[in-house]
Amino acid sequence: MDWLAFLLSGTVLAATPLLIAALGELIAEKSGVLNLSVEGMMALGAAIGFIVVAESGSHWLAILAGGLASAGLAAIFAFVVLVTLGNQVATGIAVGILGVGLAGLIGKPYESMTVPPMARVPLPLLSDIPIIGPGLFNQPLLVYLAPLLAAALWWMFKHSKVGLVIRAVGESPESAHAVGYDVVGIRFLAVVTGGLFAGIAGAFISVASTTLWSDGMIAGRGWIVVALVVFAMWRVERVVIGAYLFGAATIAELLVQSAGIAAPSQLLTSIPYIATIIAIALLSMDGKRIRLNAPVSLGRVYNGAQ
């Protein structure tokens, strides 16, 4: 595999978990709930996923288990912010710390262990194309499924009743309640679905892309996911673009090294974070656009279900 194919492959492997987790966060935020615990949910998903592969050898079981564990963590978050009316920022941080802690705790016996990576599924014909074939079309199945999932969610928000109801709950919970929708229930499901996606994304990282367990292996990717949703102005198609751009930024380190440019590795590691700050600043400059695109009730406590 020559280096261009290697970079393409690295980009989609890095982008896939970002995309899956960001789509989950998007669903939660569309319903009006800002869930800042993505880092913790991804970490827990990664830990559970890794352990399941190490013990059972089944990668799909690992993805499923990682997703369900994080969905459970998301349910705790949802209960505190929706039922006990907790502050979403503080609760998100608390649940995030809990998730990272749990991942470190249960992953401890597996520290520095490796598992066989998830099987690659070459797509017939496409994988025979030079360079992009081995780069893009000889990947684990989830790499292909993630953009399909995005397409499905795009359709859901644009054309389906479910999507419309989620958006209504996020834009105006009072009106949604007045026409008979169960605001708290819908938000609960949206947040738990977001947790499921974050867990799947975390498990993908530990069983498909970086198959060596070390505490803190999510390394801030959960926060990049949160930024990605803002970057995308809460639009599915822009989440997709953003995820692949950030995927490319996270492997910029390899790109620069392969080009023979000498730069401190710490600077290169910082590129995705610096890129995020610049992107957020540029996109937020026009305050009107943020206000028009952000779900109106995002982050607000809702206590209208009397």
Binding site: V83, I93, G101, G220, S270, I274, S284, N303
Partner: protein, 362 residues
């Protein structure tokens, strides 16, 4: 979901109720700590002792608790001022790191200095570095409307990489066998310890003193009042002419200064040099401390102390029973989650749904 209860915002504060939430959170945390430890094979009695009693059982352990309470207290007081104004500075960890870097410059560059002004100068430089790091977020928020939660978070990760770069290169000890750490600080660069054999230092008194300043600022000063109005009623604040930009700048600069100073106290206290690890997550734990203390300067004093007990208890459990360090994070998370959930009964009146028809009449 139709809840079997009715929730109304409280119109007046009860005196007793605010104490119930932190108390409930502490009890739940202690119980979960015991359950967690029994899963890890430590019997409950032993776990209770290691996590929550041993940290307070000897003079040395108490001094360690106070040592760890110092940065938590300092940072949480700074953050609470911003949180009251609903300015979400999640970047104290990065601001602490910048404070540690800034505070290390003078003792590294003037390593054989005998000048007694060294320590005060370090504190000034480090505090300014913490403020400058927070100022990036303030400038981006006020000029470009960039969300401060995201920017401060990203700055945490960048600060860590900056620290790694500096201790591996420009600030590395030239005689240190290539270890990623700076030269040891001279004596004039070190905070005086409070008693022989202990590591707790004069920073504790500074933190307590600044807590009193924070209390006065929040409860008695006009600027503090304006900040709080901006958080509780942004429309009213705008109508009254309180500038939102000023609130953003003030909140972030105060938070950054406090975290930066805490960073100086770490390198000039227990560490004695700049290293790759300058904080075991104090910047994040302080967020928990700020909320657990009810964003109130006095409450934060108690919260910082309790959080420090968890830190030291975790260390003791790790040393004596081989319990992973991550237990700390788990307990910290549970502490804040249960506190927030219990706040329901502080901020709202919760009544069973059946009672509503009779209540409505009266």
């Amino acid at each position: 979901m139709r809840m079997p209860w009715i929730i109304d915002a409280r119109t007046s504060n009860s005196r007793l109720v605010p104490i119930i939430a932190p108390l409930a959170a502490v009890i739940v945390t202690v119980v979960s700590g015991l359950v967690l430890m029994s899963f890890l094979g430590v019997e409950p009695g032993k776990a209770l002792y290691q996590l929550f009693i041993a940290p307070l059982s000897t003079a040395f352990n108490v001094s360690e608790v106070l040592l760890k309470a110092t940065p938590l207290l300092l940072i949480a007081q700074g953050l609470a001022i911003g949180f009251r104004a609903k300015i979400w500075n999640i970047g104290a960890e990065g601001q602490l790191i910048l404070g540690a870097i800034g505070g290390s410059l003078l003792p590294i560059w003037f390593n054989d200095s005998q000048n007694v002004l060294m320590l005060p100068a370090m504190i000034v430089v480090g505090t300014c570095c913490g403020m400058a790091w927070a100022a990036i977020a303030a400038a981006l928020r006020t000029r470009f409307n960039a969300n401060e939660i995201l920017v401060t978070l990203m700055l945490n990760s960048i600060a860590l990489q900056l620290l790694y770069y500096l201790v591996a290169g420009p600030l590395r000890d030239p005689f240190g066998f290539n270890f990623p750490q700076s030269a040891l600080f001279p004596d004039v660069a070190m905070l005086p310890t409070l008693f022989g054999g202990a590591r707790v230092n004069a920073g504790l008194f500074v933190a307590i003193g600044l807590s009193l300043v924070a209390w006065f600022f929040v409860e008695r000063s006009m600027v503090g009042y304006k900040l709080q109005v901006g958080g509780v009623a942004p429309h009213a604040a705008r109508y009254a002419g309180f500038s939102e930009k000023r609130a953003v700048w003030l909140s972030l600069l105060i938070g950054g200064a406090a975290a930066g100073m805490a960073g100086v106290f770490e390198v000039a206290g227990p560490l004695g040099q700049l290293q790759r690890v300058v904080s075991p997550g104090y910047g994040f734990a302080a967020i928990i401390v700020a909320f657990l203390g009810g964003l109130n300067a006095i409450g934060i004093l108690f919260a910082a102390f309790f959080m420090a007990v968890i830190y030291v208890g975790g260390d003791i459990a790790q040393a004596s029973a081989g319990v992973p360090y991550a237990v700390n994070s788990v307990l910290q998370g549970i502490l804040l989650i249960t506190y927030i959930a219990a706040r329901l009964f502080v901020d709202y009146r919760v009544r069973p749904r059946r009672a509503i028809s009779t209540m409505a009449v009266s």
